[in-house]
Symmetry: C2
Subunit: 360 residues, 2 copies
């Protein structure tokens, strides 16, 4: 036996466990025999792993389905949705921080919003800690972890490298929350988090898609080949300060005509449908090379649907088609996320499910 044998067996066990949970999350309750067929594992291995998951309280036996009463009915097992709770935080709105307690299947059990009142820097960190504390008090279940969608650039360890809106630079948000509460913490950029939310709880399906998260600012997350693109310096998706209108308005970043000067909720609220269509045209012009280059299937606009659906969405769609080859965009779809503003909270829960249980 090679020295790594034990390690590989542990690794394989974790992998198989995640495979089974993935199946249960995506398909709902199934029998042990179904799990064996679906995962390619032996019945013995499946029974062993199911036993472990039942012992951990993550899944439960659900009895037999009514329609199989002829012959010996199989016992179904399913996710014990309420076995663990997840605390999800969305720190991206300009005026407040929002958090939810969710069960393992994403159902919201509690919701808390704290007004930001201009806090930034260390004060904003303390506000996030208070929000998490309040949510943890709202549940009596074991908490699987805290998931956070944060504005700015976030590295793989959960350190916010740069978030101008909160005046955060190298803020170890994951470390701070973990030290405070002793549970696993997963932090990612809000737009990337939104992508996970849309992928798991939205309508993205399995194809490549680009999600624009439109809130106080605008961020993007891109899924290619089922994988979230991270970028060379963990800064993929930073599209808000790409200049799209050099003769336009000054931006908070000190330059002129950034995408955020036209595409941000406060700016959009000031506009009528004709002006929303103009924003859609600017966005379509900026994205046409991206759509052409990636031959993207879906562009998802995630944010307030009353602003995004309609004139703006239609103008993006039309402009992208006008500016690209038909073969690139014949199947192209622009749509809004059914999760609306809650897309980041949904994704923050997925961060935890994925990080702790290996499912997404």
């Amino acid at each position: 036996m090679r020295p790594t044998g034990k390690l590989l067996a542990e690794d394989a066990r974790r992998h198989h466990r995640a495979l089974m949970l993935q199946r249960l999350f995506s398909e709902g309750p199934v029998s042990r025999a179904d799990l064996a067929r679906a995962t390619g594992l032996t019945r013995v291995t499946v029974s062993d792993l199911v036993g472990g998951l039942i012992d951990d309280g993550l899944i439960v036996e659900l009895g037999s389905p009514a329609e199989t009463r002829v012959g010996k009915p199989p016992t179904l097992v399913g996710i014990a949705a309420d076995a663990r709770h997840i605390v999800a935080l969305d720190l991206s709105p300009d005026d407040r921080m929002i958090g939810t307690v969710q069960d393992l299947l994403g159902a919201v059990k509690a919701r808390v919003e704290l007004p930001r009142e201009g806090r930034s820097g260390a004060q904003a960190v303390r506000l996030a800690v208070s929000l998490a504390a309040e949510l943890l008090r709202a549940t009596d279940r074991t908490v699987l972890g805290i998931g956070v969608g944060s504005p700015g650039i976030v590295d793989g360890r959960g350190v916010v490298l740069d978030a101008p809106n909160l005046s955060w630079r190298d803020v170890d948000l994951a470390g701070t929350l973990h030290r405070e509460f002793g549970v696993p913490v997963h932090v990612a950029n809000d737009a990337n988090t939104a992508v996970l939310g849309e992928h798991t709880f939205g309508e993205a399906g399995d194809g490549d898609f680009l999600l624009l998260r439109i809130a106080t600012g605008v961020g993007a997350g891109l899924v290619v080949g089922g994988v979230l693109v991270q970028g060379h310096g963990s800064a993929a998706g930073e599209i808000g300060h790409v200049i799209v209108d050099p003769g336009g308005k000054p931006c908070a970043c000190g330059r002129v005509g950034c995408l955020e000067t036209v595409l941000a909720v406060p700016r959009l609220r000031e506009r009528d449908p004709a002006a929303l269509a103009q924003v859609g045209e600017v966005l379509g012009e900026a994205l046409a090379p991206v759509i052409g280059l990636l031959n993207l299937h879906q562009l998802v606009l995630a944010g307030p649907r009353d602003l995004l659906d309609g004139a703006l969405r239609d103008a993006v769609d039309r402009t992208v088609r006008e500016r690209t080859m038909a073969v690139t965009t014949e199947d192209f779809v622009v749509r809004t996320s059914p999760l609306g503003d809650d897309v980041v909270l949904a994704g923050a829960a997925v961060l935890v499910l994925s990080g702790e249980l290996g499912v997404s």
Copy 2:
């Protein structure tokens, strides 16, 4: 034993063989012990596989390195570069078709160019067949396969779905060449082929990069996470007919201001350095959202270096930086490919190496 046992063993054997060849291609001659260490396979398995590869003539024993004459010297094995030849075709130039015979390490053994003289449709297919025939006559070695970089959109089976410059629609180029010559044929879009050439024989390293192939027209290939992005309809990289200058010149496609109306070798040849800088600015404006979104490390301009290096490259670099956040582009590099115009031929050989031997 599960019914798939035999198949899996075959599969594993092919995989291990490819692993070893990959190592030999990238590292040069090594000992069997080195191969075992590098691949994690046992010495017995390595010796067995090496024996098979020697029998097939793909690798040879090279004796021992001079510096290890103390103790029993290990015998090195290496790729038998001349054991097989590869025929590579580049059909993307406007005025001719170019082909080479290359050995397994990419050294060019013969080169043939046939003038196109306006041929298109079936006549252009016949010209490609003639080119391949002439190259096959130029080698006395077993030919591992024919690799082709073709303009237009090419599907996974080597069918050219749409190549306006050659008036090709649904042309089964791989099938035609295979029926004619009885050797394996691999066809891909010229820009995607160029990406493979740059990745294997150029300077791209392991990071994400976007390659623009600038010839008669302009195409792009994008590597994210080590994988070439294919796109929803196999049309990724089709950036040449993205409109970048709505008030500009009419394009052959019937619209106005496509990227190809400014960024194509015939257009660039007419320009002085100041005008080349303007082209660089237009390109930088179109690509800034792409660079920001993907947080790309490298943009590689592949084509005539006398036109691309200098004013044009500098203007792209400057414009992309002006239009994106510093954090996105602080490590960003724009450079020209060291392979110049031969980047597609290099990539066409990689198509065959990858398809037939599993190495890239």
